[in-house]
């Protein structure tokens, strides 16, 4: 590695290893995922059954009891239990949607970026047309066809997510194609596929990972928005989105209803982002 000015104050992670923040992020994510997975073992309260006498109890430490550490909701259900059980649903939906959106988006982006102008134009205009429709309209239309179900929710989420991947990958591809060593590879007779795999894909990985981790958060929040519309997860099953929706009218007097799922989402986003950045550092060819 070349010499650096001595005044440099920033630290660089060593190549080949995940930085401490990324490890923290990964740990955080793992914690949330595991807690959600093992929810029935961790909390004994029923997340679905109402208890009218215990409505809107504040969290422990703010006047509540330790039996309900995060308080109870508008039907007296334990919020911690709902947070963990709801996590299973929200995380699973978000993960599946991100994967599908990412797969579709990356493929489209690669094809559009390396396939010549006609192909590029077709896909980009297709994206424009789809993006012109608000997510809500898409959601209503899909539910009308498929009915309210998690599948419909995933479909809507994936549809709303692929374009960001596609556009970013495409822009990256356009840039990289012009680089000298790539053009050199073309003249040497390398096939398109080989170019894509060896040169283009690794270079697009970094922004993809960053976007992927952002998208995860977007998906969870989008699920919340769609819950406002009554799509997918129906009450009384908990999901973070539904909890947010139910807590919306109580922000003035029982703010913990909406804040608890909000914090869970923040933790997941923080973890995903830190991990995503760490992975990017790990795979960044610029450091090699």
């Amino acid at each position: 590695m070349s010499a650096r000015p001595a005044a440099r104050a920033t630290a660089r992670p060593r190549p080949g290893r995940l930085s401490p923040p990324a490890l923290v992020g990964g740990l955080l994510l793992a914690l949330v995922v595991l807690a959600s997975l093992f929810a029935p073992l961790l909390v004994s309260s029923d997340p679905v059954k109402p208890s009218f006498s215990r409505r809107l109890a504040p969290p422990w430490g703010l006047g509540g009891s330790v039996a309900h550490p995060v308080g109870t909701d508008n039907l007296g259900r334990d919020i911690l239990a709902r947070m963990l059980h709801g996590g299973r649903i929200s995380l699973a939906l978000a993960a599946i949607s991100v994967v599908i959106a990412g797969a579709v988006g990356i493929v489209v982006g690669l094809v559009a970026g390396s396939g010549g102008e006609r192909v590029d134009a077709f896909f980009m205009r297709l994206a424009d047309v789809q993006l012109a429709l608000p997510v809500i309209m898409l959601a209503i239309a899909i539910v009308a066809v498929v009915g309210t179900s998690p599948a419909a929710l995933v479909g809507v989420l994936a549809l709303s997510g692929w374009v960001l991947y596609a556009r970013t990958v495409r822009a990256n591809v356009l840039t990289i194609r012009r680089l000298e060593y790539v053009e050199a590879a073309y003249t040497l007779g390398a096939s398109d596929l080989r170019i894509i795999v060896r040169h283009i894909l690794p270079n697009t990985l970094a922004p993809i990972l960053v976007i992927g981790s952002s998208q995860f958060a977007t998906m969870v929040l989008l699920e919340s928005g769609l819950s406002f519309l009554g799509m997918g997860i129906q009450a009384p099953r908990p999901s973070w989105g539904l909890m947010l929706a139910e807590g919306r009218d109580y922000l003035s007097n029982a703010w913990w209803l909406a804040t608890a799922p909000g914090i869970m989402i923040s933790l997941v986003v923080l973890g995903a982002n830190l991990l995503g950045d760490g992975l990017r550092d790990l795979l960044d060819p610029g450091l090699g």
Binding site: F52, R55, N74, V143, P236, E246, S252, N253
Partner: protein, 510 residues
């Protein structure tokens, strides 16, 4: 003493509330003069529902009715206890079962100076009947003729008895006959006889009204300017009230009451609403077609817990499908809570594993989802599984027409204050064909017989038909609603209404 109204157009800039110097000066004047001169200040109301039109004949919305009442006067007004009192009609009577006669008030003018008389009433009523594009039109299709009898009397005849006509007319603001020349232009700057004049309207955002200094009722209005803002988000509405930006808000939920009461400068009013909550059954569909299952469901629901714990006491037990105050209200034995009996009935009738779809129209009623989940839990206790479907309104209504639901969260706010429309829509064969598919010839006959003008006859017919409904249980009436309002303590003379109308013409501000 008349004050000149500044011809000021609002540019959307809210002027802050100021104590009118005229108000202070007026206190020293003789009383009669003082009443007219004591107009000062501005009111801002925050409504939850958007107003969509300025045409009184073209909507069935509570917020539009509230706003329009300030610009237009109807022939008949309705008080907070559902009694009909004179407005632009000084008196009215049923000449016979098919004919109503209205005697009109004299010396009333529209905001543009033209006089109000029988021509205006005839035009307004004929217009709503003949223009089938208008939303209120279908209600007036029974009207055969509308004729004036001199300049201050109108005679309306109908094909069938139309006992609820005065009630419907309480929601129909009178328009000048000249409006017919160019309706589009008219409704850009509408003119009525009401206590306020139209100033400006931004679609879906706010409407600004200015006092009418020559209103026919003395001492009214009490303020110079009224602005209605449409603020759909409950928390924002409440915040604006607490911050002093809005003086009255509607549709406050029970949970917010304590917070508002604890806020400086804010008071909370509540009043029994003219509304019975309703959960309808799809009567043509198995298994709720079976009256025994419906009875079991009714027994399994603890209405008192809903009123006490979920509505925090802001609800009242139902003793008849028609709320108190309206013709036809009666007292029937309260529906009991008896889950044990429910289980027995289910067992006897052979309903072991029932699953029902309970459909809601999203965001129609506050706390509806909460209450439905509670009901689902209660029904689960007796072995009935409930799938909740909280759908956007248009899709839900499609399901209702198609009949692909078992239970449906419907509600009915009696607008106008008369049960004839409710019965005619939901309990006649023709009316409920695309709804609940209810069919009982005896009930249908009673409804027809209850359409006559004589209130004593109507009361008798409705009581009999309600006893039948009470036994059949085609619907569940879990509670009567309570209307809660948040009000600035600077307001004087605000009357919280059970019909959800927000009326400010005789409200003053300190």
């Amino acid at each position: 003493m008349r004050e000149k109204i500044r011809a000021s157009r609002s540019f959307g800039r809210r002027r802050f509330i100021t104590l009118g110097a005229s108000g202070l000066a007026a206190l020293s004047l003789p009383r009669a003069v003082r009443a007219q001169a004591a107009r000062s200040g501005e009111l801002v109301a925050g409504l939850s529902e958007r107003m969509l039109t300025l045409d009184p004949a073209n909507h069935y919305s509570i917020s539009a009715t509230s706003v329009h009442r300030h610009v237009f006067d109807p022939l008949v007004d309705v008080t907070n206890d559902s009694k009909f009192v004179p407005a632009l009609a000084e008196s009215w009577r049923a000449v016979n079962n098919l004919t109503w006669r209205f005697n009109l008030r004299r010396n009333v003018s529209f905001h543009d100076g033209t006089p109000f008389n029988a021509d205006s009433a005839v035009f307004t009523i004929r217009r709503v009947r003949d223009n089938t594009k208008l939303i209120k039109s279908f209600v007036y299709q029974d009207i055969e003729s509308v004729e004036k009898d001199g300049d201050y009397a109108v005679v309306v005849t109908s094909k069938r008895p139309f006992g609820s006509l005065p009630a419907h007319l309480s929601m129909l603001g009178m328009l000048p006959a000249s409006a017919g020349r160019n309706e589009d232009a008219f409704f850009q700057k509408p003119v009525g006889t009401g206590p306020f004049r139209f100033t400006s309207w931004t679609h879906g955002d706010n409407i600004v009204l200015a006092a009418n200094p020559s209103y026919w009722k003395p001492g009214i209005p009490k303020v110079e300017k009224v602005t209605f803002r449409f603020v759909p988000e409950l928390s924002t509405r409440a915040a604006a009230l607490r911050a002093g930006e809005i003086h009255v808000i509607d549709r406050v939920t029970p949970d917010l009451v304590e917070t508002l009461k604890g806020s400086r400068g804010v008071k909370v009013f509540d009043v029994p609403a003219v509304e019975a909550q309703r959960w309808i059954f799809q009567l043509a569909k198995e298994p709720v077609k079976d009256q025994r299952l419906r009875q079991a469901i009714s027994l399994a629901i603890d209405r008192n817990v809903i009123i006490k714990d979920l509505l925090l006491g802001y609800g009242r037990p139902v003793d008849s499908p028609v709320p108190p105050g309206l013709v036809g209200h009666t007292t029937l034995p309260l529906k009991p809570y008896d889950p044990e009996k429910a289980r027995q009935i289910l067992k006897q009738a052979g309903y072991a594993n029932v699953t029902l779809d309970f459909v809601l129209m999203k965001d129609l009623y506050p706390k509806q989802l909460e209450i439905t989940q509670a009901v689902a839990a209660m029904l689960g206790e007796v072995g009935i599984k409930v799938n909740i479907k909280n759908l956007e309104i248009a899709t839900a209504r499609e399901m209702r027409s198609a009949g692909t639901y078992d239970m449906f969260f419907s509600g009915w706010a009696h607008m106008p204050h008369d049960p004839d429309w409710y019965f005619g829509q939901w309990f006649t064969r023709a009316g409920s064909e695309k709804l609940t598919r209810y069919n009982n010839p005896r009930v249908e006959q009673l409804i027809a017989e209850g359409r006559v003008p004589d209130p004593k006859v109507r009361q008798a017919k409705y009581e009999e038909l309600e006893r039948i409904l009470w036994d059949e249980e085609p619907e569940i009436w879990p509670y009567y609603s309570v209307a809660i309002y948040g009000v600035s303590d600077r307001l004087r003379n605000f009357e919280p209404r059970g019909d959800y109308y927000v009326l400010l013409s005789d409200v003053g501000i300190a």
